[in-house]
Assembly symmetry: C2
Homo-oligomer: 427 residues x 2
């Protein structure tokens, strides 16, 4: 006998619409393969034109959240509204009424999962959020049920499609940031106000969720070092290429003896690294576990149907499992250790200076690095471009501390021996 | 309260040893993160030296399978013996005694999962086999609980580390097959008798398991078209490179309107394909689903600890979930449709001929292709090598039928206008 499961969808935008479509079109497929009779019992969205376009029957169109929650046929509530206003109120109300919630809302989960999981637990229902991170890629399911045998020491992710699209285009076409952003906006890959994506805010939300799960402890997004891609010059991508590096906006989490280190910034990685060939709007998460060693999941990080794949996978999971794993933060409400977050992290650095082409300058610059305990792997002076005052000098350092580099860069600026044009971390 | 779960391990070889080590070393970690008190209660292996090396305490060393199964502290039996003799008998006995089984045994699951799942069902216990395919990569968990919302149309996998290591070395170092195989044997990447790996048998077992799960119907390994890598010439890898292709031994499964198509063979894929940069002993599985679009999982396909990661993930899953999904074949015992398997599949082809460098030959060859309805994308005559009778002629075809190519190749051979040196499928 197939288990009957009723779903309500709150918010029929891109992801909600994709979810509606997927559930309706796959009803018989899930009946056959999952032995679950999953039906959409209610939708809530004020945009009548949108409901019409999706062909939502009149009888499924609810007037209010109260109507949805009072409907005994609704077992699972899908929240695809976004933001932390109405969405938070509706999710809270759904959990309080004993209905499990599936959400694609990264900001909500990043900021309030703790509180919401408590409410879920008290009401004996589940809170699922696979779709909140990396679209259709089942990274959360993998963390919970796929690599849970491992202590995870490192996570590196390309978790934002907009910035990866822009960096890929800048790299392959040599176009500059501003024009590539414009093209991305024209094609719908970037929003009118792109700040959330290009300045790395979106990536910090996802890194907070994923590193909390990977490291079994709450990692607040406010602890994440953040730097966006808007300051990236095309020439640095080109110089990096010559050195064998690809530039990506990475979300990096490390769990070390000394503490947790979380950061989002443009990063040079060796061309042979699996993340280096993740291009365009594709996303990927690379993990290191103590048993599994390294592993990577790759796929579409956004879009109506890929994200709906994650939402519906959660719906099916909720419909076919009675155990609810409050996995993310199960050890964090009463964390056994005071988690230490490392801000003065270690990294290798690519530094581009603009120098005067005359004797003694190089000695002065290397002197500043040496004084700050920074050891240099490679230093290369490039040919002078006609439109520039100085010549480019590229320095690649060994592993060093963020603060040492900050000090060296400040010192070089102060003394006026060179202009610091770019500082890019290398993993 | 932590749930108490006892584990027995049958066979303490590479994977069994890694499993023992992982369970012992991570006991407290699982207690904390999984609220499960998982202990090894028994091991069964005649190799005393091995048990000593692993530091297995005397009291855990069982004398017989009967002793293991009679132990009330044992809830889950891990089978890491391999093969289908003793392993099958022990797994059957364990399931009959009501203990859930976790196995890394691809041959057993490929050939007998149907029978074993029936026994498991009748006895209300679970059968888990994440470790049977692609080592530490949680591809089976992903198929069951990660992308289950999708109808999967295509799967392409690099599922054998030995052959991927050999092809990578041949490609990067230009060495020939025989010497690369020898080096792989020396390094422990290939066995003394490498047939199982290099002729693709190992890959067919894994493709059988994975495509059965992906397509929700039993795909017997006997239905899989198989061709190994032992006939691959280094020059074809080099010519492929010039055309923008990378050579991989792929396990390919397609689920189309016309039927299921499953094949294991050396395959040229475009350099930009995510599978093309999966090198050395790494494995990866690339899937296309109707909602998620394309997705890839990448990681170590073999080795003690990576495979133990998969075994222990299954142990934890079995310990923390009461619902057992007999996912692989849940729709196949009474399959609703007669599954049709396609043997005359469609593909593009790379064909290398050795031709006499004289007028009219090209016209004759293209004539044979045309008569067999084969349309040509690219044709290129290479410079003559001093040690060869003819000159190499490379032909790349559009999508065509396997049988058409077979006919054309036979015809070219018969009429003696050229010698067919290599036929490699292109995806």
């Amino acid at each position: 006998m197939a288990k009957k499961v009723g779903v309500a969808i709150l918010g029929l935008g891109v992801v909600g619409g994709g979810t509606y479509q997927t559930l309706v079109e796959h009803h018989d497929f899930y009946l056959k393969t999952q032995k679950a009779d999953i039906t959409v019992e209610a939708v809530l969205d004020k945009a009548v034109a949108r409901l019409d376009a999706l062909g939502v029957p009149e009888e499924l169109r609810a007037k209010s959240i109260e109507e949805v929650l009072a409907n005994p046929a609704v077992d699972i509530v899908v929240e695809t509204i976004g933001g932390i206003g109405v969405a938070k109120a509706f999710v809270t109300a759904a959990l309080c009424s004993g209905k499990s919630v599936v959400t694609s809302n990264k900001e909500l989960i990043c900021k309030f999962s703790h509180e919401l999981e408590d409410i879920a637990k008290r009401n004996g229902c589940g809170l699922y959020y696979e779709a909140s991170c990396v679209g259709g890629v089942p990274i959360i399911r993998t963390l919970i049920d796929g690599v849970q045998a491992n202590k995870i020491s490192k996570m590196m992710g390309i978790v934002n499609g907009t910035t990866n699209y822009i960096l890929t285009k800048m790299s392959t076409e040599g176009a500059d940031y501003a024009e590539t952003l414009k093209e991305a906006q024209r094609l719908g890959y970037a929003e009118f106000d792109p700040t959330n994506d290009v300045e790395g805010f979106d990536s910090t939300y996802k890194l907070s969720i994923l590193s909390s799960m990977a490291f079994h402890t709450k990692v607040p997004y406010t602890k994440i070092f953040r730097e966006g891609i808007s300051g990236i010059a095309t020439e640095d991508i080109a110089y990096g290429k010559e050195l064998g590096y690809t530039l990506k906006l990475l979300a990096i989490g490390k769990n070390t003896e000394k503490g947790i280190e979380v950061r989002v910034h443009p990063t040079f990685i060796p061309n042979a690294h699996p993340l280096a060939s993740v291009n365009d709007a594709y996303n990927a998460v690379y993990l290191c576990g103590d048993a599994v060693d390294d592993i990577m999941l790759y796929g579409r990080g956004a879009g109506a149907l890929p994200t709906a794949s994650a939402v519906v996978s959660d719906v099916i999971y909720a419909a076919t499992h009675s155990e609810i794993k409050y996995s993310t933060f199960k050890n964090t409400a009463n964390a056994e250790r005071n988690v230490k977050f490392i801000s003065n992290f270690e990294s290798a650095y690519y530094i581009r200076l603009s120098v005067e082409d005359k004797a003694g300058v190089l000695a002065k610059i290397t002197g500043v690095f040496a004084k700050n305990g920074i050891s240099i792997v490679e230093i290369e002076q490039k040919g002078k471009k006609t439109d520039e005052a100085g010549v480019p000098l590229i320095v690649v350092t060994h592993q060093t501390r963020e603060n040492s580099v900050k000090n060296a860069v400040a010192k070089i600026g102060e003394t006026g021996i060179a202009k610091v044009e770019a500082v890019i971390r290398v993993e």
